[in-house]
Subunit: 164 residues, 2 copies
């Protein structure tokens, strides 16, 4: 079983240039939406930017609080509609086990990912985990199951936090 190379994990907010993450995410979002002929409106972009403020998963009502300075009229529906859009475009992940949302760093790729959620620093690392997905596919074949979507969410301690 060969495991494909992974992009460097960004679980260390101190050590990486986070503004670069945000800029990249917004730029990619912009490009993808243009290509697809869908609108990355101001609200949607603001929500995406708020989600990318950290590598932690963010709750919808936290986003609501944080968008209010920019969108005074914001209500739950404002946020949930933006989240629905971003999810549909693959720009964010929903973290089911936390009822929260995190930026997707492989936006535009179709493959599903593995989400490693740190209990300590709360950051979420996304990994393509090609090997895992391949073995999973074999498992589905055996089970006669046609998979439409999968979430692999793992709670534990990230490299950094387990070393502390």
């Amino acid at each position: 079983m060969t495991i494909l190379a992974e992009p460097p994990p960004h679980t260390d907010t101190l050590a990486h240039n986070h503004q670069q993450c945000v800029d990249d995410a917004l730029k990619i979002a912009d490009q993808l939406c243009t290509e697809r002929g869908v609108q990355l409106t101001a609200i949607r972009q603001q929500v995406l930017a708020l989600i990318w403020e950290s590598h932690k998963a963010v709750k919808a009502y936290e986003l609501l609080d944080r968008i209010k300075p920019l969108q005074a009229a914001a209500k739950p529906a404002t946020i949930y509609r933006a989240l629905d859009f971003l999810l549909a475009q693959g720009l964010i992940h929903r973290v089911e086990s936390l009822n929260a949302f995190v930026g997707c760093s492989c936006s535009g790729h179709q493959h599903e990912q593995l989400l490693l959620i740190c209990k300590q620093c709360e950051q979420v690392e996304e990994r393509m985990a090609a090997g895992v997905m391949q073995v999973l596919a074999e498992e589905f074949r055996q089970a006669g199951f046609s998979a439409h979507s999968k979430a692999i969410e793992v709670h534990g301690l990230c490299r950094r936090c387990s070393q502390l």
Copy 2:
């Protein structure tokens, strides 16, 4: 990569003797609780039995409605407390992506499982998926991640429903 043998899937309510599933589940629960010196009280047993009425994932408030004939005083806390107990004992799974609960057919085993959730018939098949878990473990090692819990929930069509 060898895949271990799986117990026969019980995704077909019509074709299998479901009463057997329920009886087995209750008997195993009883044994485990006795062994562990914890109390499988009437409420807890009733909730477990209600969850086992089908192989579908059941919502907490559905359980609340269904337990009322038996426990007229039942309130949300009644159900959530019973669910917490059953989860702690490994007798049920929480299906994060549905905010619902399903009986665990490998109660007492420590290993994590793969949950295959059918969009059509709503039944949940549990698989040990030893191969998947093994490859996952290798992935964690590479990521320097110490996993404490993992949920692998896959939505799609089960064998039966994809053949219809």
